[in-house]
């Protein structure tokens, strides 16, 4: 079983996710750059709600076709179609169709104890990160880490409260608040 097949097997088992995340970005010198926390909901295919609460609020919502990026501090919302470039952002990867991954990444994996870590190296040059790793325990995702060419590492630790439970689709539609600057891409 190739790494890609193994990863696809794990991702296929995941139809919906609900939980929270803690995120830490360190720069190339290992200096703590930013911590973030928030909540996430995910429902295949293509639906997710990724809400960062700290240090500042930002919400990414996708209903599988449209992606809203709402920035309350900036009083701005960007509305765009869910496109290919987005397939390289972790939220989309987890919510996307598993079979697409091998078109975008070279994949290998390593096992240490109960932890299985898949390393994904983007095939396209203009990718936003140099490496993405997906960490699974008991075939369930519990962390992901991104590294970029600045040597910056962002680790996102997930604590999943609900796995494959029904989620109201309405949660993946965004109601644009009044007098907010709207950017249509």
């Amino acid at each position: 079983e190739s790494a890609a097949e193994k990863l696809q097997g794990y991702l296929k088992q995941m139809q919906t996710l609900e939980g929270s995340f803690e995120q830490l970005t360190v720069d190339g010198r290992g200096q703590r750059m930013q911590e973030a926390q928030g909540t996430l909901l995910l429902a295949k295919p293509g639906r997710f709600y990724w809400s960062t609460e700290q240090p500042f609020p930002q919400v990414l919502i996708s209903n599988g076709a449209t992606l809203w990026v709402y920035d309350p501090d900036l009083e701005q919302v960007t509305i765009q179609t869910l496109d290919k470039q987005a397939t390289q952002s972790p939220a989309i990867i987890l919510a996307g169709e598993a079979k697409d991954l091998t078109q975008h990444f070279a994949i290998d994996f390593s096992v240490t104890g109960k932890r299985v870590v898949f390393n994904l190296i983007p095939l396209e040059a203009d990718s936003l990160f140099e490496e993405l790793s997906l960490h699974f325990v008991d075939e369930r995702i519990n962390a992901l880490q991104l590294k970029d060419s600045l040597g910056q590492k962002t680790r996102v630790d997930l604590s999943i409260s609900k796995f494959n439970q029904p989620i109201d689709k309405q949660l993946f539609e965004f109601e644009v608040p009044a007098n907010v600057d709207v950017i249509q891409e």
Binding site: Q23, T25, D27, M33, Q34, A36, T52, P55, F56, Q58, L60, V69, D71, D73, L74, E75, Q76, T78, S89, P90, A125, D126, L128, F129, L146, D148, S149, L150, Q152, K153, T154, V156, D181, I183, E185
Partner: protein, 176 residues
């Protein structure tokens, strides 16, 4: 904007915010021109005339780092490219999709006007170097009133800068 010196000249402006030369501002920035628009997390550390400005995506990706000192600015982009120049504006505009009037923003971000002519519009907005700037929200940081949302436009260019974490250091914070 005009080619006024990138080195922030000592300003005789005695307002308290003008005396702030050692600080860190973290928040969000969005930029738009007629071609595209993007937003990023921002981490701006100012240490006297030296500064480090980092722009990075919500998951830390797609970042750019500007390390500036008088007459020398180095830009490192997320694909590892390093470029040097004497002015931050040109460097950023030539090597990334961001066209930001950084030398002016060094003042506007502190709620004061940059050196040079400006025209008052009302208490919280003015025209300077071709930009129309508005301080839309303020936050209290110690005894300083500092902007928490700044909106600026110049023809097709516009940016919005939201700062939600200000840190003021009395002496140099960390060597940059």
């Amino acid at each position: 904007c005009t080619s006024q010196p990138s080195l922030p000249t000592a300003t005789d402006d005695l307002t308290p915010n003008a005396q702030l030369w050692h600080w860190q501002a973290q928040g969000r920035i969005a930029f738009a021109n007629n071609k595209n628009n993007h937003s990023a997390n921002l981490d701006w550390q100012q240490n006297g005339y030296n500064y480090q400005l980092q722009l990075f995506g919500p998951l830390g990706q797609g970042s750019a780092r500007l390390e500036g000192a008088p007459f020398k600015v180095i830009l490192t982009t997320s694909d590892g490219k390093q470029v040097e120049a004497s002015s931050p504006e040109q460097l950023l505009a030539d090597n990334s999709d961001w066209e930001l009037p950084l030398s002016n923003m060094l003042y506007w971000i502190r709620g004061i006007k940059a050196p040079g002519k400006h025209k008052e519009i009302n208490e919280n907005s003015f025209l300077q170097h071709g930009w129309q700037v508005e301080w839309r929200r303020f936050s209290q940081v110690g005894e300083h009133q500092l902007p928490s949302l700044l909106i600026a436009e110049k023809g097709p260019l516009s940016f919005r800068l939201a700062i939600n974490k200000w840190q003021i250091f009395s002496t140099p914070s960390k060597e940059l």
